[in-house]
């Protein structure tokens, strides 16, 4: 593969990330997840990388960032910036309870032919009708729906932010994500369009991958009730991902739907 081709391949991967099943890992990395007091600040890195949690590929754009406070209100991030390898933002935690931080992506991707040339288009579902020339032929459209999340709690963990929307893959914790400890087993439920998602494969990888030889990934599969379990081998930040494909698209033109869910979870020492 010559350099130019590598460049094109990288660009293609970027277009699809985080929704294609690529080697790249998309994540939000919080400075902390457990806080004693309201008025605490957290800062978050957002990136797409090969390793966890290192900035070595591209930043994760914050266009789809939605921060939900314990009372259900939307919180605006502060000091947002996007650099070469990462995006960052700060949050002031003014309420007791659990916050959800999510970069939500709902997009359309199309390949088509125009005047004998291969073309690509990418955008929001609402833009699709005007996005592709009427003369286009061999149009192949896919829809992508994904969420990249992390959680933080001031004081006692609360559960209001886990109310499912019924769209795409969502995680409903049985064990609270800000109450995870080394040596213990956590249970989470995955929903697909609001219903328990059976048979979803989940991959969990501990951070600090630079300092060990093997990824040490943990695999899990959801049962009929959508539940899966993880026993945390040691303390640290963990990256969790699951993906799925189906034909339940929201646009009749789209033939395929790609779904993904990513979460960064902090496991504390006993």
């Amino acid at each position: 593969m010559n350099l130019k081709l590598i460049g094109i391949a990288t660009a293609l991967t970027l277009c699809l990330a985080p929704l294609a099943a690529s080697a790249h890992k998309t994540w939000l990395h919080p400075s902390g997840t457990v806080f004693s007091d309201t008025g605490a600040w957290m800062t978050v890195d957002a990136a797409v990388s090969n390793d966890l949690f290192y900035f070595n590929h591209v930043p994760l754009r914050l266009d789809g960032l939605q921060v939900t406070a314990p009372d259900g209100s939307r919180v605006a991030p502060q000091n947002s910036a996007t650099g070469k390898y990462r995006s960052v933002f700060d949050l002031e935690l003014t309420q007791q309870g659990t916050y959800k931080l999510a970069v939500v992506n709902h997009g359309m991707f199309a390949q088509y032919q125009l005047d004998g040339e291969n073309k690509r288009w990418r955008g929001a579902p609402a833009e699709f009708k005007t996005g592709i020339p009427a003369a286009a032929t061999d149009v192949e459209v896919s829809e992508s729906l994904g969420s990249v999340e992390t959680f933080a709690t001031v004081g006692s963990p609360t559960r209001s932010v886990f109310k499912p929307s019924g769209k795409g893959i969502e995680m409903v914790p049985v064990t609270h994500p800000n109450d995870l400890y080394a040596g213990e087993t956590a249970t989470f439920q995955l929903l697909l369009d609001g219903k328990p998602a059976a048979g979803l494969e989940v991959e969990i990888i501990p951070g600090a991958s630079r300092y060990r030889d093997q990824p040490e990934e943990i695999k899990a599969v959801t049962g009929a009730d959508g539940n899966f379990q993880v026993k945390w081998p040691h303390a640290g930040m963990y990256w969790l991902e699951t993906t799925s494909t189906d034909e339940l698209t929201s646009l009749p033109e789209a033939s395929k739907r790609r779904l993904s869910y990513v979460a960064t979870l902090e496991v504390l020492p006993q």
Binding site: S36, D37, T153, G155, D179, L268, P269, Q270
Partner: protein
């Protein structure tokens, strides 16, 4: 032996009002550490039931002097205490929370007539002591006890870094 038992029984019958309340004495050493930047540790002490639920908070030493309650920012660093009860207990708590202590041996005395041990059902508990120090380490030392038990108990434990000698004495 029998005579002693009889005497004890008599004493109990004769002097019920003078019976001392059951007592729990704790002696905790905060070791002197030779480190370039020393901060006094945050220390929490509590009694746990066998299922790890908290039966009584005995002491929480943290930086209560800082303006605007900023000392409570690091309460979460006493991770086990924070999980078991800290995060659902608004600080400060009268008679439980207090200022951090310097290196040395510290004595605490509780009885069943007042404070955190009042009304505590008899049974097996774990006395847990957790220390966390800014730019330092964290350590948890626990001592299984029977409260109040039928005879005096003398128990010992020792930390290796942030806590030193721990002595527990229970007088039923």
């Amino acid at each position: 032996m029998r005579a002693i038992a009889t005497a004890a029984l008599l004493a109990m019958l004769v002097l019920p009002a003078a019976l001392p309340a059951a007592e729990l004495d704790i002696s905790v050493e905060i070791p002197r550490l030779n480190v370039s930047e020393y901060h006094r540790p945050y220390v929490a002490m509590w009694l746990e039931r066998p299922d790890h639920s908290v039966a009584a908070n005995l002491a929480v030493w943290y930086d209560v002097e800082m303006k605007a309650g900023e000392g409570s920012k690091w309460l979460k660093d006493m991770r086990q205490w924070w999980r078991r009860s800290g995060r659902s207990t608004p600080m400060p708590v009268d008679g439980v929370s207090g200022a951090t202590r310097p290196a040395g041996q510290h004595q605490l005395r509780f009885n069943d007539a007042k404070g955190p041990l009042k009304g505590l059902p008899p049974g097996k508990y774990e006395l847990v002591i957790e220390a966390a120090r800014e730019v330092g380490g964290r350590e948890v030392v626990s001592v299984p006890i029977t409260w109040p038990g039928s005879s005096p108990q003398q128990l010992k434990a020792k930390g290796t870094s942030e806590l030193g000698q721990v002595r527990v004495s229970i007088t039923p």
